[in-house]
Amino acid sequence: MTTVALKPATMAQALGRALRDAMAADPAVHVLGEDVGTLGGVFRVTDGLAKEFGDDRCTDTPLAEAGILGAAVGMAMYGLRPVVEMQFDAFAYPAFEQLISHVAKMRNRTRGAMPLPITIRVPYGGGIGGVEHHSDSSEAYYMATPGLHVVMPATVSDAYGLLREAIASDDPVVFLEPKRLYWSKDSWNPDEPPAVEPIGRAVVRRSGRSATLITYGPSVPVCLEAAEAARAEGWDLEVVDLRSLVPFDDETVAASVRRTGRAVVVHESGGFGGPGGEIAARVTERCFHHLEAPVLRVAGFDIPYPPPMLERHHLPGVDRILDAVGRLQWEAQS
């Protein structure tokens, strides 16, 4: 048996590698967006693609998000597989008309005749000290729009695998890349990129017996940290990483909550009208008789994303998660 040299890779590099491999495998894959060419994207995810595949395959567009996504619709109509980059979460909003009225509905409107295999990469979420409009958690808008897949990796391998899957998908995928995990590292074999997982499968990142933390994207490492900290308190927490909100993996989630009997949903977007409400309802519907306590939510506050010097008070951290876990002792409390 030969031993392979594992190399550290950041999530940004893994995403870039996924784009490269997808472009090499399929000439229909085109990358377009603001600054994706010469600069390699503001997070360098598309670094080197224009050099390797040419400007026609990795294109610096005019600065117009509606134009970028609208053009991608036309490109997809003509058989290409566009991967567009929205520079930051809050700068995708000019493209919402295209996203909601066309991207999400084209297959349905044309009775299946015109699927749109578009991947929309969005660096998203807070925790990087960004100024206004650079930290929004926009997943609730996307998941409320039927016709879109909503996917978010939390690990370096998933970044690679899920992006390959997203590009291969015949449906539009909003691919949310947690900004604060771009520089997180993992070791992998560069000659043999990680196996590709189909979109829509959650994974148990840590198994435990006393309660389930249901989370995704940037909150996954926070939940794992909270689970470690909870050990000292005698809590053995399971952590489920959803990896995608649409489709939603009811099975993995319900199986976990049936085992543990308690659940907390954790995300950094606002709680009111946020993903946690939907998730808590689904868990309750499926696991009512197994629940020892109501499903709790730990979310960002229901405020516009705060300035960087205050964001630590807004983002759900270990303490807030542990506090919720404490409240799961429902009998004692009620």
Partner: protein, 389 residues
């Protein structure tokens, strides 16, 4: 007769009543950007204006240098420098009357400061303590807009509303060359022209939108040419010639104030520094281009003129520089003090009346902060007591 036969008989003539809605010729920009400095026209410029522009330019440059230095010391999260573009920034501030409004983009801190804003308050967005650290009404400066071109329709609406109220107010909106590609730019210009709103759009064409050069942004002969399609005049000006920018903007503002409607002004300039301190400009441009533009520095252009006309001697120059230095020292000192933030401010301005949910979250944070203060935060959930299965 079949359709084909009819077509054969067709002779193209103009539709019966067609004529152009507006004569495009007066709307077209001149072939070359307007210049004053270094030309005969410069001799006629009021010395007081030359000195005023010079003082503000030197202060502006010093401000850019100081703010960039503050990013290196971690006192500012990020700073998009306008070094090289100070003539546009300063002229934009100086051409406005007190009652007028300025709609800046995120790069235009300097214009806001030249208009009278406290230099520290103008930086809170970029320092990270609050999104807009000033009251927009105080100096009639709208919040620095980060989403590109989105401030332009606001400027149109405000100018329109002022006119409806019978007020003699003009709005000046700043946007970059990249921002002209956004849909909001188009919609704003169209509204402004249809409403004949008293608004002036100043495009600071500094060559790049982050890494993307103008050639990849537009195929138009110039950005000023875009005006014609909306039915407003387009004007081209050398953006490093402070006097020329001041002249062109003053005319456009007078035109708007007199009820003549909007103007699109394109100032041709250059961004000497990188996009922000976090950007690596060597990835997309060469040094020689930057050097060429350094030779066309707005301060040097103005100082040459002042000196030739005998309006600036060593002592006067030193006085201007000392003034700028004092401003920088004050900025440095105040920025080096840690801002005192109240986390409860998170909830203070979400609604006029907080929702019950926000009140709940407010007391949650209050409890956390109290616990943090007496060191009990993170005491943990106190065990499941056999609750686990």
């Amino acid at each position: 007769m079949t359709v084909m036969e009819q077509r054969g008989a067709y002779r193209p003539t103009p539709p019966p009543a067609w004529q152009p809605r507006t004569d495009p010729a007066p709307l077209l920009p001149d072939a070359l950007p307007h210049r004053v400095l270094g030309t005969d026209a410069a001799a006629k410029v009021d010395p007081a204006l030359l000195r005023r522009l010079h003082t503000e330019l030197v202060r502006g440059r010093r401000y850019n240098v100081q703010a960039t230095a503050l990013t290196k010391q971690g006192r500012l999260a990020v700073y998009p420098s306008s070094t090289g573009q100070e003539a546009c920034e300063v002229a934009a501030a100086l051409v406005l009357e007190e009652r007028d409004w300025l709609f800046p983009s995120y790069r235009d801190t300097l214009a806001a400061v030249a208009r009278g804003l406290d230099p520290v308050q103008a930086l809170t967005l970029l320092r990270g303590d609050w999104h807009t650290g000033y009251d927009p009404h105080e100096h009639r400066v709208a919040p620095l807009s980060t989403p590109l071109a989105t401030q332009l329709p606001h400027a149109v609406g405000l100018a329109h509303a002022a006119r409806l109220k019978g007020d003699d107010v003009v709005a000046l909106a700043l946007v970059g060359d990249g921002g002209t590609s956004e849909g909001d730019f188009h919609e704003a210009l169209n509204f402004a022209a249809v409403w004949q709103a008293p608004v002036v759009f100043l495009v600071q064409n500094n060559g790049f939108a982050i890494s993307v050069p103008l050639a990849k942004q537009t195929a138009a002969p110039s950005l000023a040419h875009k005006a014609v399609g909306y039915g407003m005049p387009g004007r081209l000006v050398d953006g490093n010639d402070a006097v020329a920018v001041h002249q062109v903007l003053s005319e456009a503002i007078a035109h708007a104030r007199a009820g003549g409607g909007p103007t699109l002004v394109e100032a041709v300039t250059y961004r000497i520094d990188a996009h922000t301190n976090a950007d690596d400009a060597t990835r997309y441009r060469g040094d020689s281009e930057v050097e060429t533009w350094r030779g066309h520095d707005p301060i040097v252009l103005l100082e040459r003129e002042l000196t030739e006309r005998g309006l600036l001697d060593e002592a006067a120059l030193q006085e201007v520089r000392d003034g700028a230095e004092a401003m920088a020292a004050d900025l440095r000192e105040r920025m080096n003090q840690d801002p005192v933030l109240d986390p409860m401010d998170l909830f203070a301005h979400v609604y006029a009346q907080p929702t019950p949910q926000l009140l709940e979250q407010e007391s949650q944070l209050r409890a956390e902060l109290d616990a943090e203060a007496d060191g009990t935060l993170g005491a943990g959930p106190h065990g499941p007591e056999g609750a686990g299965r």
